[in-house]
């Protein structure tokens, strides 16, 4: 079977009986077997469960019960989304044996559409990181260069799609965790508007920033998946009614008259010249297709990361209180009393980066510092949101890079947290403002590493960024990493 098929292409072949669901699932499971030693994109692979389900789904397709575009297509789920009965670790020791008793709404919706879950993907521990190196289960490698990181925190999902271990995957994005790994691995990912996709069953990091979204080979797949997983959910009171959720109708190759704003502050100091050039070339390509480009000052860009780290850490310190060794997960072996049990369990169960953020979060929320740090950050957030509102009065879409560089070497940023945080400069403000963003490949640097293009839209206007991204995508074919091509051949 051709592993380079997109999810929608594979769905079509399954529908036309050119490929059976079992064949497709087997091909991807074998692909994982061949590549996981190098890539380590997965924490859990459920061969048996997936094959069993494949037979069941095939029946439902044959009967005509399942007719959607994703019926029978395998998918991988980031390991911070609960799947009933399937190990869900958040890449942490503290959840090393946790098997949820329910399934996240977004995953449930995929299952209802006939998706086959083949496994759970590696990530930074509790989604805290931009490299997937903080995982308790070892780092994931970038299929474009195995000595480099895949980005993070959804690095396992991005690498799995890029290495063709799975046609598409779900990730989550709190400060860039879908878009940046998509950029580093040369795939496409959407961070939807806050509230677009239910967070029920997503193990919370920064609840006011977290969103679930797709990672896939192209814009069509992402739009198709988003259409399935979005919608209001009674179990997440921050999810909202569907507004303009017919995303696949925006898969149109036409940007004539579309107003695209280019924030000058996204192209300043710290941006790799090769990334800059590729992104500007992409902008020119859209201009040649009829879009109207204009440079502008977004402002406040340098304040987004500090505000983000205060807010995300504060929320994390509260969200992660629940991991105390009582109801699920790891419990320390020796302890004096209840309180000592909590402390030892958490100290042994959490990794360094998670502890760092819990401590920072506890500090900024503590009395005496709450106003100076936490409230200040929420005020900054309001100003950043306003800056985007002003920009979107003039532009349909904002265009810029996803990250200042291409994929870094493994270990390069691990010992310098602030350096790692700075890599999120173009992505975090999107979460603070709650707007949607898409990341897709727009070129390659001289080392042959993919460069990501980021397009941002107004609240609930995913359709404009999907249309712009789709139009751009038509100008360049999808490029597979040599690794996937070679390993795919060897295996076939």
């Amino acid at each position: 079977m051709d592993l380079s098929l997109t999810a929608v292409e594979l769905g079509k072949k399954i529908k036309n009986k050119e490929i059976s669901v079992v064949e497709a699932v087997t091909a991807y499971l074998d692909s994982m077997d061949a590549k996981e030693k190098d890539i380590n994109a997965f924490i859990t692979i459920d061969r048996e469960g997936a094959l069993k389900r494949a037979e069941k789904v095939q029946k439902l397709i044959d009967e005509g019960t399942l007719t959607g575009p994703l019926a029978g297509v395998p998918v991988a789920i980031k390991d911070n989304m609960c799947v009933d009965g399937m190990l869900t670790t958040c890449s942490s020791k503290i959840l090393g044996n946790f098997k949820p008793t329910y399934t996240a709404t977004a995953v449930e919706k995929l299952e209802a559409a006939g998706a086959i879950i083949v496994g759970k993907t590696n990530m930074d521990e509790f989604a805290m990181g931009s490299t997937t190196e903080t995982s308790y289960y070892g780092a994931t490698k970038n299929p474009w260069d195995l000595s480099r990181v895949p980005g993070g925190s959804s690095g396992g999902s991005a690498a799995a799609v890029s290495a063709e271990e799975v046609p598409y995957a779900l990730g989550s994005d709190t400060g860039g965790s879908i878009r940046q790994p998509a950029g580093f691995c040369g795939v496409t990912g959407i961070k939807p508007t806050y509230g677009r996709v239910s967070r029920y069953g997503l193990i919370a990091y920064g609840s006011s920033l977290d969103q679930i979204g797709p990672l896939a080979k192209d814009v069509t797949d992402c739009a198709t998946v988003l259409e399935v997983i979005c919608g209001k959910d009674d179990k997440d009171s921050t999810s909202v009614e569907e507004l303009g959720a017919d995303f696949t109708s925006a898969l149109v190759d036409d940007v004539k008259g579309m107003k695209i704003g280019i924030p000058k502050d996204y192209f300043g100091e710290g941006l790799d010249p090769e990334v800059k050039e590729a992104v500007m070339t992409a902008a020119k390509t859209l201009e040649a297709k009829g879009a109207i480009l204009e440079e502008f000052d977004l402002s406040l860009v340098e304040y987004a990361i500090p505000a983000y780290y205060i807010i995300a850490s504060a929320e994390a310190s509260s969200n992660l209180e629940r991991f105390d060794g009582v109801k699920y997960g790891y419990r320390t072996e020796q302890f004096r009393d209840l309180h000592n049990m909590y402390k030892k369990t958490r100290s042994e169960g959490f990794g360094a980066e998670v502890k760092r953020r819990i401590m920072l979060g506890s500090f900024v929320l503590s009395s005496g510092y709450y106003d100076a740090y936490y409230m200040k950050a929420l005020r900054t957030k309001a100003m950043i949101k306003k800056a985007f509102d002003r920009a979107f009065e003039k532009y349909d879409v904002i265009l810029g890079p996803v990250a200042p560089t291409t994929a870094l070497k493994l270990g390069e940023s691990l010992n310098d947290p602030i350096k790692m945080y700075l890599g999120d400069i173009y992505t975090v403000s999107v979460n603070l403002a709650g707007i949607p963003g898409i990341s897709l490949p727009c070129g390659y640097d001289s080392k042959g590493l993919p460069i990501g293009l980021q397009l941002l839209g107004k609240h609930f206007d995913e359709k404009s960024i999907i249309r712009a991204a789709f139009s751009f995508e038509q100008t360049r074919p999808y490029k597979r990493p040599e690794y996937a091509v070679e390993r795919g051949q060897k295996h076939a």
């Binding site: 008793t101 921050t238 310190s317 000592n340 200040k376 005020r379 900054t380 957030k381 602030i418 709650g434």
Partner: protein
């Protein structure tokens, strides 16, 4: 901002984390540099700006209080580090 031993101990209590002496030293360093970095926000005049937690107006969401999920006690307890008589077992909290 300099982080003292007292501050780190206090944060350790809030965060329910027990740090070794070595970890404490590292945490002091990390937190000082993080706070110095996020202190950049002080350059920004936020006078009169309302703190924003949600980016679009949210309202209370009401629904009927009806139980829709079944009794899942047995399954949920399977995840418990220790259980007894259908309940979570924890160390003795008082004498």
């Amino acid at each position: 901002m300099q982080i003292t031993d007292e501050t780190i101990d206090y944060v350790g209590i809030l965060a329910k984390l027990e740090l070794s002496d070595e970890e404490k030293e590292q945490a002091k360093k990390d937190m000082s540099s993080m706070l110095e970095y996020v202190g950049k926000l002080n350059e920004l005049d936020t006078e009169g700006v309302e703190p924003m937690s949600h980016t679009f107006s949210v309202h209370n969401v009401f629904r009927e209080d009806v139980v829709t999920n079944g009794d899942d006690r047995e399954n949920m307890l399977k995840n418990a580090p220790e259980q007894k008589d259908g309940a979570y077992k924890v160390p003795k909290t008082f004498n």
